[in-house]
């Protein structure tokens, strides 16, 4: 007998992770809301979830990297540059956060630097990230709307369910907005 193993839908995994990252980012941007200890650990956890986000979107990264100077949609090229800036900014936020850490580093017996430069840089890169995240969300808005309709709205309104694609295959490069 043929055994069918049900793999979780990749897009659903992506959507769930992205919603988690977005909400965590909003909380991390308000340290007074969470308290400093939670802020620091949440920031470190964001580093891990952003890495997972990149792994889930690896094929897009590879394809656009290969075709950056060739045949690729201008919007994919713009997204690529923006995503690179966002990656650099997020890395700087987490790195400078660790440099001024009062909870995470001491847990490992390490002492932070507490320099004014790192505090200023942490604040500056965090402020910049709000704009970069806004642009990142804007450039992927159509995907967010489509997936929200498919995985959140449709199951809640069974009468008007949008038809699910028969195959759960990886989207083509054209569908991913890489190729023209």
């Amino acid at each position: 007998m043929k055994q069918t193993t049900k793999r979780p839908n990749r897009n659903l995994t992506k959507l769930a992770l992205d919603i988690g990252i977005f909400l965590s980012f909003l909380v991390a941007m308000a340290p007074r809301f969470s308290g400093m200890t939670i802020h620091e650990w949440l920031g470190v956890a964001l580093g891990a979830t952003i890495t997972t986000h990149l792994l889930l979107n690896w094929s897009w990264i590879v394809q656009v990297t290969k075709r950056f100077f060739g045949k690729v949609q201008w919007s994919a090229r713009l997204s690529y540059v923006l995503n690179a800036l966002l990656f650099i900014d997020m890395t700087v936020i987490i790195f400078t956060g660790l440099m001024i850490s009062k909870a995470v580093l001491p847990t490992f017996g390490l002492e932070a630097m507490h320099g004014g430069v790192w505090k200023a840089l942490h604040s500056l890169s965090a402020n910049l990230s709000v704009f970069l995240v806004g642009l990142h969300v804007a450039l992927h808005w159509q995907w967010i709307v489509n997936m929200t309709k498919r995985f959140i709205i449709a199951p809640l309104t069974p009468g008007q369910a949008t038809p699910q694609p028969a195959r759960v295959a990886r989207p083509t490069l054209k569908e991913e907005g890489v190729l023209q």
Partner: protein
């Protein structure tokens, strides 16, 4: 194995960025012009202020999305994509 390799690539890229930030920060090239922190966990503000921070950032992100998505939809309406000739 493939995932491990990709993860290492991401970590390596992050280490490069962190190294560059460390070099620039230590050399005093950045920070001199940036002001100090204006928030963090210092005195002042309360629960309402903290929630206000979240709402403010959400508002900024929503405004950017509305501008970019609305702007490009408007641009498409004004200059629709050329129809393929029959």
């Amino acid at each position: 194995m493939r995932t491990l390799g990709r993860t290492l690539v991401i970590i390596l890229a992050a280490l490069l960025v962190a190294g560059a930030a460390y070099a620039l920060g230590s050399a005093g090239l950045i920070g001199a012009t940036t002001g100090g922190m204006h928030g963090g966990h210092g005195p002042g503000g309360g629960e309402a202020f903290a929630v206000g921070e979240i709402v403010k950032n959400l508002g900024i992100i929503a405004a950017i999305v509305a501008l970019v998505v609305g702007g490009s939809a408007l641009a498409k309406r004004i200059r629709p994509a050329p129809q393929p000739s029959l």
